[in-house]
Amino acid sequence: MTVKYSRVAWLFILPSLLIFSIFHFFPLALLIYVSFCKWDMISFPTFIGLQNYKLILSDDLFLKSLPITLVFVFTSVFVSILLALGVAVLTEKPGSKLASLCRFLVFVPYVIPDAASAGVWNLLFFPHPSSPINQLITAFGLSWQSWLGDKNLALPTIILYYVWKNVGFNTLVYVAGLKAIPKVFYDAANVDGAGRIPVFRHITLPLLKPITLFILVTSFISGWQTFTEVYILTRGGPGTATLTLPIYIYFSAFGTGQLGVASVAAIFLFSVILMLTLIQIKYIKGE
């Protein structure tokens, strides 16, 4: 009876397994193989051993992209989590239309297609006094900035964009998490005369830990893979000020035709994401 059940189970998951293999395992295997080859994507790849790995370690563009990506990912993830938590807690008034409106407005950027919203941000933050944002800040007596054209401001501007775009989704998850906390804990705290901040610190935050860890894992994965917005906003410029790892991979593969080197970088990115995810999952399980 058990053997029959297992066979039937395998039969049911076979189509999904097949599709997953074709669209995930096979490309991954090909990626690993190409990282040891020189390939023009027309003829069969030529095996060259560890040459691409040696090349990338001496490529200053790759080495430059790592700290840029780290700064982008960690800053944007933590800022968006903190903001999302704040907005969720502040708008957690059941039945309040204002609270619902606030959550709606925060969530709207998330549903706008990346290409469209990044295009609009390009216009808003155009590096000239005539751009809308510069006109706004000069109206308050501040001096205008080059934003996406300034090598010191380009990355913070992209981080700002990323936070604006993604805080809505995180807020939604936190709101769901807050609603799931049993009311009995708050009632007990009320009876004991606990204030709002101790309640938040000792009840809300600990009970939101699983949600926070979920958001952390998904945000890190998404952050490391960010490509569209950086490509549209700055294409890795000015110079290499916003050259993140995905942008480096793209330009190596399709700008200069170095498929092998791009594959090595992609494997590195995959390894980093996998490692971070496993650490976080282990931590969740431990908790």
Binding site: M41, P127, K151, G237, F251
Partner: protein, 458 residues
């Protein structure tokens, strides 16, 4: 078994027969139609809407007259040059290549021709094109063949000349005391003019650029727009001797040209370090006084975006240390060509379409009617190109420069060279690395890359 009432039975049978008859008639009609030959045309780039619309109008009139062999084209607006060339080659290997190319950039076509993906026009087609195009621009049809000789491959031109000139604002020239009829022609003159034209706010930030240097966006574009400066200083960029290809991309003439542009940004401070000063809009909005090198579309775009600016538009050569006698321009043209991997039938129909395209009425549609410069005799010798001031100035520049339009000398690997060059120059112009480091890296990256290119034996 339940009995079906007679009426219902007759009704169902009647409906069934009617459906069968209709389906049969439709199938018969479909099967007896002459087989449609679809001529897939792949367009790289999505610039110049008016040109695209004019081209579509020509295609529509062809398709109406020739329903048995319709042309349909697909635009690939966001692919890099390398990606597009790769796509063509992969589709050819896969057995379904495009039949026609419409390139908004000949550098891709140069590579495809050298690697055997472009069909050389038959003699009657070639004679037709050469008789229609001004002899001064015949070389623009030429590209390297797989055997290494230079042959004509383009069979239809929709717009010509890429980074061919600088465009300046005559009104701003007058405002700062410069003679609007004596634009800069040497590097020193360009530097001095840009210094007079640059405008800064009270905090010292540039709010109007004196001269714009291309330093961002598509790396291939950065490389391409730099080339006329380098060639004007005596560089050759890419050439063949015997069986070997050579580049002087890290030699003195190129270094000096790159350093000149770098210094405009960081020493003379007549341009901003970011990419915001480049293109049509900054010039139209008077945020940039001198723009380029850019193509002939600059005049067209001014006419249709801000016609009031046309009266202030001046055209001059890309400066070189020796002035106009040594000046270069980049003669990259948007053209139609036929894929060599198509079937004979497809190619024959494609040539017929191109003969149709090259008729005077159609050239007028894609050229004079929309202020779009093409190298056709009928086009450039008629209004507006023969009458409007900006076009007359452009014609003067084109006929005066010492080293015109040598794009056909660039062979295999040109796409990668410009992309690598552009990518490294962008870093040098952002002061991340020195100009020498950028060009040395370009040389090393390109020669390393070309080791596996079957056309490179250096």
């Amino acid at each position: 078994m339940a009995k079906v009432p007679r009426r219902k039975f007759l009704a169902y049978t009647g409906v069934g027969i009617a459906v069968a008859v209709i389906a049969g008639a439709a199938g018969f009609y479909y099967l007896t139609q002459p087989t449609k030959l679809e001529l897939d045309a792949w367009q790289w780039g999505a610039e110049y809407e008016a040109v695209n619309n004019a081209l579509q109008a020509i295609v529509n009139s062809w398709n109406t007259a020739h329903p048995e062999s319709i042309v349909k084209y697909t635009v690939f607006p966001e692919l890099s040059e390398t990606e597009f060339a790769l796509k063509v080659k992969q589709s050819a290997v896969g057995g379904k290549p495009p039949i026609l190319y419409y390139m908004v950039n000949t550098t891709i076509l140069t590579e495809l021709a050298a690697e055997g993906y472009v069909e050389e026009p038959p003699s009657d087609m070639l004679n037709l094109v050469k008789s229609a195009i001004d002899p001064a621009f015949h070389y623009m049809l030429n590209m390297f063949s797989p055997e290494g000789s230079i042959k004509p491959y383009a069979a239809g031109v929709t717009i010509g000349l890429s980074a061919c000139a600088l465009y300046y604002n005559k009104k701003l020239f007058q405002e700062v005391g410069l003679d609007p009829n004596k634009p800069p022609q040497t590097w020193d003159q360009l530097r001095d003019a840009a210094k007079a034209l640059v405008k800064k706010d009270s905090s010292g930030k540039i709010i109007r650029v004196g001269v714009s240097v291309r330093k961002g966006g598509n790396p291939g574009g950065i490389g391409e727009k730099f080339v006329p400066y380098a060639i004007g200083n005596g560089a050759k960029i890419l050439w063949k001797e015997g069986n070997k290809w050579y580049t002087d991309i890290n030699q003195k003439p190129v270094i000096e040209a790159a350093q000149f542009l770098h210094d405009l940004i960081h020493v003379d401070k007549v341009d901003v370090p970011d990419h915001s000063s480049w293109g049509y809009d900054p010039w139209l909005n008077e945020q940039c006084a001198i723009s380029g090198p850019l193509g002939v579309g600059f005049i067209t775009n001014t006419k249709f975006s801000k016609p009031e600016m046309l009266q202030y538009l001046g055209v001059t050569n890309v400066p070189s240390p020796g002035g106009i006698k040594d000046a270069a321009s980049f003669g990259d043209l948007n053209c139609l060509a036929v894929c060599s991997k198509a079937t004979k039938e497809q190619k024959d129909r494609a040539w017929q379409f191109l003969k149709f395209f090259n008729q005077a009425d159609n050239i007028k549609k894609v050229s004079n009617d929309i202020w779009n410069w093409t190298p056709y005799k009928d086009s450039i010798n008629n209004p507006p190109f023969s009458t409007e001031t900006a076009w007359k100035e452009l014609n003067k520049v084109l006929s005066s420069v010492g080293r015109p339009h040598i794009v056909n000398e660039f062979g295999p690997g040109w796409n990668n060279l410009t992309a690598m060059l552009g990518s490294n120059l962008a870093r040098a112009f952002a002061n991340e690395i020195t100009v020498k480091e950028a060009l040395d890296k370009t040389y090393n990256d390109w020669t390393n890359f070309m080791q596996s290119n079957k056309f490179y034996t250096g």
